[in-house]
Structure formats: structure tokens, C-alpha cells
Amino acid sequence: MRKAFQLTEEQALLKRIHTRLESVEQLLTNGSKETSIALLNDIHASLSEWDKAESERQRYELLSEVAFTLSRAIGLDDILTQIVDGLAKIIPFDAVGVFIVEKNEIAAEYLRGYLIDAYEKVHKKLGKGIVGRVVETGRTVKISDVRTDNDYIAARVGTRSELAVPMFSQVSGEVIGVFNLESNNLNAYEDDDAELVATLASNAAIAIERSQMYHRLMHQQRINEELSVARRIQHSLLPTDASFNGLQLRGFSAPSELVGGDYYDFFPLTDKDIGIVIADVAGKGIPAALIMAGLRGSLRVEARTVYSISQIIDHVNQFLYSTSGPTEYVTLFYGVIDYEKNILTYTNAGHNPGLLYRKDGKIEQLDRGGVPIGMFNDQTWEETIVKFEPGDHLLLFTDGVTEAESISGNMFGITRLLESVGSLRNPTADQVIQHVKTIAAEHLNGNAFGDDMTLLSVVYQQEEHDG
């Protein structure tokens, strides 16, 4: 890049002009006409040299001004307008197009000096015309007479010369845009004009790439905000811990991402029984969360209107089967606790077994039922009745718990759940949840959860139950 003309050089020039002018004054009084003319010519030359230096200096001053303005612009439209405004101060043109190129297509553009019906032709320039050539080669194209260039696409009638300069990414070095200047004069552009435009282009590239990054960040931030709202909504779908008629119900759910496909729920059905459910939607994140919300609604509605558990699951299965593909399915444990008769009726649709810890220390695995729901439309689910009495407690969990992987790659496993929770004597539901969380965290030892992890504990208290 050419250096701006130094001020000291300008001062020397001015001094020379001044001396010459003094000589002219003397000659005009007593010298010959020829010598005077020669001297005047010399002065004229010095003056135009000074002019050139001065305009050069001004252009670079303007350039740094534009660069400064650009450094504060954020919006792409704003940046492009300022680039063209700045360009107009520095280099004369009759039409200008600034094109931002992404994946070989015009992602944004700023046009000035073209008639509206010529718009299509301007567009054709990319890929075919001179602008396309610049994108492809990354080299400046300077045409002194467009009538002699085959690549030129006439987007304007008056154009005689053209200057197209690539704009390079300051990150990757790839061509990310083109500055295209058109003039009605022949030979309008010199090499130093091209240099100047290139300098402006690299400043513009910084501003444009910063703007793009800013907008990507804003976009990401908006997605994150929406995800937070989704997480809040999902969390509000979980029931509040409850205790009644000697039953304590406590749940815990931690999605591995902001939202997840696990959930637990419980809801009173009549004045003597309560429905409990834990479910795990295949997959993670938003898709799983949406299926989960649909499933929860469907199950709550069915549970209130249909008595038979196998029928409820059958209906929910039909709903899920009809709304999702075969690879979108749910494993689920659904049960109804009748606290008058002290029985639990359940069906297990391909879910991890429910763990029933008996008062006498025995543990039953509740694993009867059928396949996961949402996979097939011709399956049935059997229901099983077990005793659920004061002093017993039930733990439901998702595979995020048993498959919690330590740094060394060991799975938490079901044995730990059976033994460790089984060793608790008359625990409260809170204690069960806390205990599992603690031993799972110890197992993970700082490793992140790879999957959603959900727990539901139902403790049938001995002393508080009045029979």
C-alpha cells in the first residue's frame, strides 16, 4: 500500500513554489518574456504536483474516517451505506455495487446509480460477468473500455470503464464480497484507485464480519432464551411434591440438555386412588420434549376418563403411534395406587423395572407389561396387581440413572440402586431421592450426565397411615 504523502514533502514543495513566485515578480519588472513563461510553467507543474499530493493526503484522511465510522457500525445495511458514502468521497463513480458473497451467492448487496429495470442484469453479474470473475479469481479487474470486454454485462447504458475489487475475509482469507465501480468516462480508474478501494474493502470486511458474528451471537442468544422459556414450561409440567393419606410423593428430573424427554407425573383419580407415571422419550432435547408434552396431556386425559390401565396405555399408544414415526417411542411405567385396598396396579411399557422395597427388606422388580409405546399399533399391555402397604416404598427411575457413566466408563447399574436404597431403613421420599442423587453424583465423580435423569419416589408411611 502506498504511504500518504508526507507533510514535510508538501512544505518543501510550497517553499519551492514560493521562491519561483518571487523570481517571477522580479522578471516581470525587468526580465524577458520567454524566461517568465518558462518560470510560470515550472510553477504550474509544481502546483499540480502539490495538488496531487494534497488530494492523495485527503483521500487517505477520508479513508481513515470511513474506517473509523465502520468500526462502530453494527447492522449490515448501515455498514454498506457507509462504505458507499465513504467511497463516493474518495473515488468518482457513476454507479456502484457492493456485493456480499456467501457460498457463491449474493447474500447482501448495496447498489447505487443503476436503473431499477437493470437490477436483474446486475444480478447476473455474479457468476457470469466481471464480478463473478473477481469472486472466482480473487483478483482485481480494471477495464478501461467495457465495449471491448466480452465478460461485461451491460447493466447501465452509459458505462465506459469499470473497476471490480475483491473484498477478502479477514478471518479465512476467502473472497467474501466485491466492490464494483462503474464510470461513464473511458479510462476512469488507475492502479492506485484499485489500491485505495482494496484498502477500503479490507476495512469493510472487518466491519461486515464483525456484524455477521454479532448477528450470529444474537441469534444464538435468542435461541437460548427461547430454550430457557421451554425449560421453564417443561419444569412447570412436573407436579409439586405431595403427601396425603400416608403417601409421600417426591420427584426429581434433570435433563442433560436444557429440555429433555423424561418426565414423571402423579394425579389423584378418585378419592381413594392416585395415578403415577414415569416416562422416557427416546432421544433428547426439543424433539423429545415436544413428544413428552403431548404424551403427558394424552395420558392425563385418558387416565381420567378410562378405568382400565391396559386400555389407557392402548389409547396413548394409538395417539403416539399416529403422531410420530416408528423410531420415536416412549418407555413408560404407569400405575394406580389404591390406598384403600393397599394395592398397586401397573403396567410397564418397556421401561426400567419399578423397584418395590418391601417393609421386610425384600425387593420386587415390577417389569410386567409390554413393549414401549409409539412403536406398533397392534400391541397390548397386561396389567399386574401387587400389594402396596404401609412400610413399603416404590422407586421409579429412567435409564439416565442406571446408565450414568463415570469418567472411567463404568455404568452406575441397577444393582447399586437395589442394594444401596434397600439398605435405607424407613426412609422418607425425600431421603430416597437425596440418597440416589448423592450416590449417582459420587459415581459420576464430576463427569457430566449423558442422558436425562429422572426419579420418582413413593413412600407409604407406616405411622401416619390410618388404614
Binding site: 427416546a282 414415526g325 420415536e328
Partner: protein, 112 residues
């Protein structure tokens, strides 16, 4: 990372799956492979799971998706060498009955 292999024995397509079936891009690879072979006129498939170490819900979804595509096309699928983790996942989800299984690939070839 799973690297799958595909072999054809007569009119049976055998897919040897390896590594972990965790719903990554390799899952789509398998279902695409099966769909392509169905489109190519094949109806008999064997998925060899002997070298699969681990499978999660997405991997299971992939197997179900494969079974659905094959059944809908009037074909049949056998899972061969189902053991360890895969066996326990199929048992827990009670899907063992849904799939035809066989202890060896050779046996699956004769049954499918």
C-alpha cells in the same frame, strides 16, 4: 465410532454392526442402507449385533425403524448374535418377542 459392513448372501442382506449404537449418524446410515436394499428388491435381512458393545434408546429406535421398513415391504428381519447389553435392553423393553433372533449369522441365514 461405529463402522458397519454389508454383505449379501444369495437373497439375504447381512449388516454387521459394530461399536456403539447411540443414534449418531451411523444410525441413519443403517436405515438408509436397508431402505436402499428394499428399493433394490431385497426382502430378507439379517442384522448381526455380535460386535455391538452398547445401545441406547436411539439405537433401539434404529432397530425398530429397520424392522418397520422391512415388515412394511413384506420382508423379514433376523437379529443375529444378540448378547450382553443388547440382550438386556431387548429384554427390559420386552421387545425380544418382536424380533426374530438367532445365536449365529449362519442360522439366521437359513431361517430368514
Amino acid at each position: 465410532m461405529t463402522k458397519h459392513k454389508l454383505a449379501v448372501y444369495g437373497d439375504v442382506v447381512v449388516l454387521h454392526l459394530r461399536g456403539k449404537l447411540m443414534g449418531g449418524p451411523e444410525s441413519t446410515e443403517v436405515t438408509d442402507e436397508i431402505k436402499a436394499n428394499i428399493a433394490g428388491g431385497f426382502k430378507k435381512f439379517v442384522i448381526d449385533l455380535g460386535d455391538v458393545e452398547w445401545m441406547n434408546s436411539m439405537g433401539l429406535g434404529m432397530l425398530i425403524g429397520s424392522l418397520t421398513s422391512i415388515t412394511n415391504a413384506g420382508g423379514s428381519l433376523y437379529l443375529a448374535r444378540v448378547a450382553g447389553k443388547i440382550e438386556s435392553v431387548l429384554a427390559m423393553t420386552r421387545l425380544s418377542g418382536i424380533f426374530n433372533t438367532s445365536p449365529t449369522v449362519e442360522e439366521a441365514l437359513t431361517k430368514v
